[in-house]
Amino acid sequence: MGQITLQGVTKRFGEVEVIPPLDLTIEDGEFVVFVGPSGCGKSTLLRLIAGLEDVSAGDILIDGKNATDASPARRGLAMVFQSYALYPHMSVRKNIAFPLKMAGVSKPEQDRRIEAAAKALNLTSYLDRRPGQLSGGQRQRVAIGRAIVREPSAFLFDEPLSNLDAALRVGMRLEISELHNRLKTTMIYVTHDQVEAMTMADKIVVLQAGRIEQVGSPLDLYLRPKNVFVAGFIGSPRMNLFSGAAAAEYGAMTIGVRPEHIRISGQGGKWKGRVGVSEHLGSDSFFYVEDTGLAETITVRADGEVTLHHGDTVWLTPDEGKIHRFDTNGDRI
């Protein structure tokens, strides 16, 4: 079991309120991603749940029991750190065994669980090495191994992939998702990368300055962003946002159109502009259109075969049904 409830959880460092009172429920077995820009308080929130920081106010319930004052060890949660935080003086085997040793698990049972974890994570041939002799990806797997052997009620990940190179990152992302499918244990995953959030999460929590901007499934956030911040943060490339006359036409302060919901044409359309930079990925092409009078540039996603040249005059037409409208407070209309 691993249901986690935050009730009015608040964190202050001295005078600075990093997390204003916050409520959130994470259901058992869910894969929840906290996403937000750097410095918005994601790590702090995770560390409050872990018990590595004390809350300034509010309560943390784990499986309905108040765990606010429980030590990290007694919460039954496991954490994977960005720096891996392996014990450098212990072999991989000893690293993975450490939580079992602390829990007083018998030696044969320890060995059984270590073998199983090592097999699942492709670490069997590295068990007798030191962390210093492993690559970044292997170290990350050891850190995950150390977390899974103790069979925690929830896993906490703090940007676990940010020290890996791009190719490894995609591979590890899949491994973690598979791990979740297999174990069905609650996972809370912190990242500043919205692509990681979109691809892995059952539920995304978008944070800004310690406040929750929106909670929802990846598709929810993509289709119905609650405000301008979420609209701009979720989706890659970013949603085009503009205000002024173009927005007023739709009875809104600000409107947003995703690059994939704009048609580009050389013949005619709603907004006129000039092609600036274009990126051809094969499957898709991205055009950055300038001089539209609406915004600095408008990003348009088109079919891979579309070829336009720098300086070409083009016409843009938004898909009327997919325009997002926001009021003066930035909230969705």
Binding site: L52, S71, A73, A78, M79, S83, R146
Partner: protein, 274 residues
């Protein structure tokens, strides 16, 4: 980035490096050479080939028993170092793991005491030693040497402890370690290399300390530094014997240094070399 260095430049630098190293080592080398000469050879003038006689060593040993100052040196160096570690480990620990606003100031203040010339406090300390009967005692000198080297010991340990990443301690806490487990299984093994380097370096510093040991001892507690000094004043002209005494005084520490080179380099560079 690798820079292209011509062969000649490389040879030039190698020769220069050897020249500087030899220049620095030469006084020690010449002391060893002189110690293997007879007194007549020693005063005869500059000569790199001794007659390899051991007579100076025999005379030094028969006139002045070597083993008593040797024992004192060991007791003072090891004793003061262990005492310093007992005081400095908790101090450095607290400053590295729970620093306050004033931690940096305290560290600077401790270091500043090393900027004052020792002579400045010679009279008060001399008087304290005289009045309390600590003059020429091992215990008095051990405590004094401990206090003299304490700032450096605290600084070194502080630097090492700060290198231990906090996330590893947090990981141990998440893994269910109690404070005792954390200290026993995680902190101590990670801190031991740093403590060992500090211990070695401080033993050498204490061994070579000459100002206080010469001022505050006569015979009972006199270590090897005072042993050399006792040869330089009354018998200043007997260079071979003085050299032999010097070699006997520095030999143990040279051997120790030789065998612990790796630890020492780490110690002297304050952990900058990984």
């Amino acid at each position: 980035m690798a820079r292209a260095v011509s062969r000649n430049t490389k040879i030039g630098w190698t020769i220069a490096a050897w020249a500087v190293a030899l220049l620095i080592f030469f006084p020690i080398l010449y002391t060893i050479i002189t110690s293997l000469k007879s007194e007549q050879e020693a005063i005869a003038g500059f000569d790199l080939i001794p007659s390899f006689t051991l007579e100076s060593y025999q005379t030094v040993q028969s006139q002045n028993n070597y083993w008593r100052p040797f024992t004192n040196s060991v007791i003072l160096a090891v004793g003061s170092t262990l005492l310093a570690l007992i005081v400095a480990i908790p101090a450095a620990w607290a400053m590295a793991f729970s620093p306050t606003k004033r931690t940096k100031d305290i560290l600077m203040w401790m270091l500043s005491t090393k900027m004052m010339p020792a002579v400045a406090v010679l009279v008060p300390i001399y008087l304290i030693f005289l009045r309390t009967g600590l003059m020429d005692t091992r215990i008095g000198l051990t405590v004094l040497l401990m206090m003299i080297n304490l700032p450096i010991v605290v600084w070194m340990l502080y630097t090492y402890f700060r290198e231990i990443p906090g996330e590893i301690l947090e990981a141990a806490r998440m893994d269910g370690a109690t404070l005792r487990d954390e200290i026993l299984y995680v902190l101590t093994p990670m801190a031991i290399p740093g403590i060992a380097s500090t211990l070695l370096l401080n033993i050498i510093l204490a061994w070579n300390e000459a100002f206080w040991t010469i001022q505050l001892t006569t015979t009972n507690a006199a270590p090897l530094s005072a042993f050399i000094a006792s040869f330089s004043s009354p018998q200043g002209l007997f260079w071979a014997k003085l050299s032999a005494a010097s070699v006997m005084a520095i030999a143990p520490i040279l051997v120790l240094g030789w065998f612990s080179q790796k630890q020492l380099v780490r110690g002297l560079t304050f952990g900058a070399v990984k």
